[in-house]
Amino acid sequence: MATLLLAGTARAEVPPERQAELRRLLLHDCGSCHGLTMRGGLGKPLLPETLAGRSDEALAEVILQGVRGTPMPPWREELSAEEARWMVQTLRQGVSHAR
């Protein structure tokens, strides 16, 4: 699916065993607000089309810093910048790939 990524975007490097943890985090913890299928809930939808037009770096920054005044918390204590970028790229492929 790498061809779906924006041209010029480097694939985030995350070891396979950590990827399994991040997938679980994505589905269950992100999913508790954004929906298991990422169609949204209290939080916004995180579908490939809703993320289109914003860079990996900008979206990773949202994950790391959170969004003030909303329930979106900062995840920087738990995720590195590289891992946050990996989360964004996984979301861009569609969440069925994360299962």
Binding site: D29, S32, R39, G40, G41, L42, P73
Partner: protein, 396 residues
């Protein structure tokens, strides 16, 4: 009505112990039955709390992340509300999906009216409440959560609960409002709006006597209270400024509120962004104390006798359940159960606590006096555990 055909008619019987299946072919009541939501696989298990076993699994229920359920007044049917807008009616005796409608794009939960005739669903998309006939699931009423100039905006609805008088109360997350609606048979809905009800209500509940509706607030320290006996008194605050101006911690999971917060003379409420339970007086709603706990509380559930409150916690501290003694307001026990303790439910008399542990794929059952584990049931990423005793309670 007991079911003659037997519960396991069309179920995934292969997943079950053979002896249990035979036991379930007899006529039975539903008072000791319940559901375990398997959030990732879109299924529920039917369980019973006498032998503490699973009776069967029903699949094809859609996206069950954050799924909850209410029960028909005879305890035979469960209405399971899926995240994807699915409203599923499950026959607990036949062990099958009776009806399913996709009533919205994105939902958060529901309630059943005191007469058992109406099932209401709170929706994020489109924001509002939709009401259905509990027998047929035919639509009865559509209540858009419209707000702002000319009502052009639609708010996400949270904290939907039944209230006495064939009514429901709910909160508008985006509009900072609480609404009540009564739905008299054959008449027009009677909607009452409470504006300026506090910033970003995230959930709400009705006290077990049906008198007060309480909304928890994400956007400010405090809760909102409405006296349903005296709606003319408007919105009142509970525990305003409980954070004392300190910066809250990041909230990795929203707490949940229901009537289980009330334990005897006290109400136990999760603090947002703090490792604390807030304790309010049941009658004058002033602060009685605080309990320092392991993490940010998600569910704080009173044992039905009110002597203990069991608490689980938000990510990343979600592997623990603590037991709080309601007399001393101290933690008297802690269980470490595995990552992803999602929910807990007491049997109606409180002798058992059923706890779902997502990441080990188990439902653990504890004796609440000895605190010994008395059963452990396999389940796929279990979340909500909902027992039929809810059928007879206001606000459940």
């Amino acid at each position: 009505m007991p079911g003659r055909r037997g519960l396991l008619g069309g179920l995934a019987a292969a997943a079950l112990a053979a002896g249990r299946a035979e036991a379930m072919t007899a006529e039975r009541g539903t008072g000791d039955l319940g559901l375990v939501v398997e959030r990732a696989s879109g299924s529920v298990q039917i369980v019973e709390t006498t032998g503490r076993s699973a009776l069967g699994r029903i699949t094809g229920l859609g996206d069950l992340s954050h799924a909850s359920a209410v029960f028909s007044r005879d305890g035979r049917y469960a209405f399971v509300f899926g995240r994807d807008g699915g409203l599923n009616k499950i026959d607990l005796l036949q062990g099958e999906l009776n009806r399913r409608v996709l009533q919205a794009g994105n939902s958060i939960g529901g309630a059943i009216s005191d007469d058992g005739r109406l099932v209401a669903v709170g929706n994020y998309e489109p924001g509002g409440v939709r009401v259905f006939d509990s027998v047929t699931l035919e639509p009865v009423e559509d209540i858009p959560a419209a707000y702002g100039p000319e009502g052009a905006a639609r708010s996400k609805v949270v904290g939907l609960a039944d209230i006495p008088g064939r009514g429901f109360a709910f909160s508008l997350y985006d509009a900072d409002e609480v609404w009540t609606v009564a739905l008299p048979e054959g008449g027009a809905p009677e909607i009452r709006r409470f504006r300026d009800a506090g910033r970003q209500p995230y959930d709400g509940f009705v006290t077990p006597d049906g008198r007060h509706y309480i909304a928890g607030l994400f956007g400010e320290d405090g809760l909102t209270r409405i006296d349903l006996w005296h709606p003319e008194r408007g919105v009142q605050r509970v525990l305003p400024g409980y954070g004392r101006g300190e910066e809250p911690l990041p909230v990795f999971k929203m707490p949940h509120l229901r009537g289980w917060a009330v334990a005897g003379e006290q109400v136990f409420l999760p603090a947002i962004g703090r490792h604390e339970l807030l304790v309010a007086d049941r009658w004058d709603w002033t602060e009685r104390g605080r309990v320092a706990v392991h993490g940010q509380p998600v569910f704080a559930v009173a044992r039905p006798d009110g002597r203990q409150v069991w608490v689980n916690f938000a990510h990343p501290r979600n592997d623990v359940v603590q037991v709080v003694d309601t007399e001393s307001l101290s933690v008297v026990h802690a269980f470490t159960l595995g990552r992803g303790v999602m929910h807990l439910e007491f049997t109606p008399r409180g002798e058992q606590a059923w706890i779902s542990v997502r990441d080990i794929n188990r439902v653990e059952v504890f004796d609440t006096r000895s605190l010994a584990r008395i059963a452990s049931l396999p389940a796929e990423s279990p979340s909500g555990i909902l027992l039929t005793a809810r059928a007879g309670r206001i606000g459940f």
